[in-house]
């Protein structure tokens, strides 16, 4: 067995273990960490395939930006344990098996067409070769994706924008129409003890 195969097996095994960790953990922070490990393993696998650029982008974009946002949101909401929502998604398990089979079929279809990667002078994963392909043969899909992302940004801003003056006035009117009850202040254990003692 060659060293590169040993490296592949080690990284692949770690990626699979971490992937199981993502779905089996009850605590969302642990799941997120598992996903970060998976992404780092994938990046290392890309390096073994002579695709350094994709490896770096994998870490910068997914592990370094998107997962930080995930962790940020989990921490901000302080979600401790997974909420059980399995009742609502009962029918989803009937979809899982066919979708898995479709994915497996896709993987085999791709594997049939792709040969072994070789250490050619300009392997497909370097900055030069990706830029060359992206800005010539695949220019239209690239631009279309950019527009799609721009639309997503504009949509997010539209949803998160501050209320206009009219909106605020309308909300205030609605609030004034119904009397607001003062929320019950939770009492500490000491106060309760004092009450009992009295």
């Amino acid at each position: 067995m060659e060293p590169i195969q040993l490296i592949f097996l080690g990284l692949a095994a770690l990626a699979v273990v971490a992937a199981f960790n993502v779905i089996l953990q009850r605590n969302p922070i642990y799941s997120a960490i598992g996903l970060i490990v998976v992404l780092c393993c994938l990046a290392a696998l890309f390096v073994t395939l002579y695709a350094q650029f994709i490896a770096a982008i994998q870490i910068i974009v997914y592990a370094g930006a998107i997962m930080v946002l995930f962790v940020f949101v989990i921490m901000l909401l302080n979600v401790r344990e997974e909420e059980s929502k399995t009742d609502r998604q009962k029918y989803l398990k009937w979809l899982a098996a066919p979708l898995f089979l479709a994915l497996l079929g896709e993987v085999f279809a791709v594997l049939k067409t792709v040969g072994n990667p070789s250490a050619s002078p300009n392997p497909p994963g370097t900055v030069e070769s990706i830029a060359d392909k992206m800005f010539t043969s695949y220019l239209l899909p690239f631009e279309a994706t950019s527009v799609l992302i721009l639309m997503a940004i504009v949509g997010a801003m539209l949803l998160a924008r501050r209320n206009t003056k009219e909106d605020i006035e309308r909300i205030e009117e609605a609030l004034a129409a119904q009397p607001i009850e003062a929320p019950e202040v939770p009492r500490s254990a000491d106060e309760k003890k004092e009450e009992v003692a009295a």
């Binding site: 970060i36 870490i59 592990a63």
Partner: protein, 352 residues
Amino acid sequence: MESILNSIDFKYIIESLIKIVFVFVMGLLSPVSMNWIERRALALMQNRLGPNRVGPFGLFQSIADGVKFLFKEDIIPLSVNKWLYVLAPIVAVIPAFMVTIVWPIGPEVNLPVIGPTKLYVTNFNIGLLYVLAMTSLGIYGIVLGGWASNSKYSLLGGLRSSAQMISYELALSLSLIAVLIKTGTLDLVKIVEGQSGYWHGIPMWNIVAFPGAGIIAFFIYLISAIAETNRVPFDLPEAETELVAGFHTEYSSSLKFAMFFMAEYVNMLTVSILASVIFLGGWNGPFVGQYPLLGPIYLLMKVFFFMFLYIWLRGTLPRFRYDQLMNFGWKFLLPAALFNIVLASIIGIFLY
């Protein structure tokens, strides 16, 4: 087994190992030396003396502190998440030291006994992206440390740092893109070699060789780099006045805290080296062509300038307020960096 042994180049491995140990020790020593300079220089700026008792001029103060970190009792508070509490400092320090292998310290020199040696561990065609990737992974140490501590101050420190680092990472990367239009490569060594020329006696470093765009990119990079390393005036994750010590409040002054400390200083060193390499010509300077051993000295001088700038700013500027920080990052730095890319592309068409 035979084939594996034959395929390994032992000379290359031993040479690389020596270099790796060298840059690793440099990284380890940087907090020791920089901490002494910082405390003394800051004291001078604030009209006091600073540590001056241990050794001549207090030179051994940092070493004494390091020994204290080693021997102090390691306390793990009861209510923390033990796994992540222990893991967080490690996650912070490993990416910081992984970057050391691409520090381009000097050109290829002819050493007396060993023969021609390159004064960097390695260079590959995505060196710059590698540095950005590793610095972005370093965030997790702070974020997880803040969360695992199970303390409001730590959590707020961790949240602030993740928001801050994501915001300023964008401006930092975009400012580098403007310069990459000129250099045309991501390999740090080739970026340095591309700045070795002169034009009427002026060194063609990227900051001047790319009129207009170079200097704007330099300042955007400098500001974002300070924010990325959580230093004054962007040290909100550890703002003493409001968050005790921020994300490391629950870490006693043991080796775990020392790891956070070390990661911060190595990251400062990395962004300083990157600033010198990308904007100020790296190891280039007068007579480097004839005497290549001058290269590391020039680089050290440039890097020291940036490290001193950190101390200087710490003695000069007050801390940002959080909303000011976010407004500055998203509404000024990011548009400025985007505008600079357009400017750089227009200039690049005419010049290169």
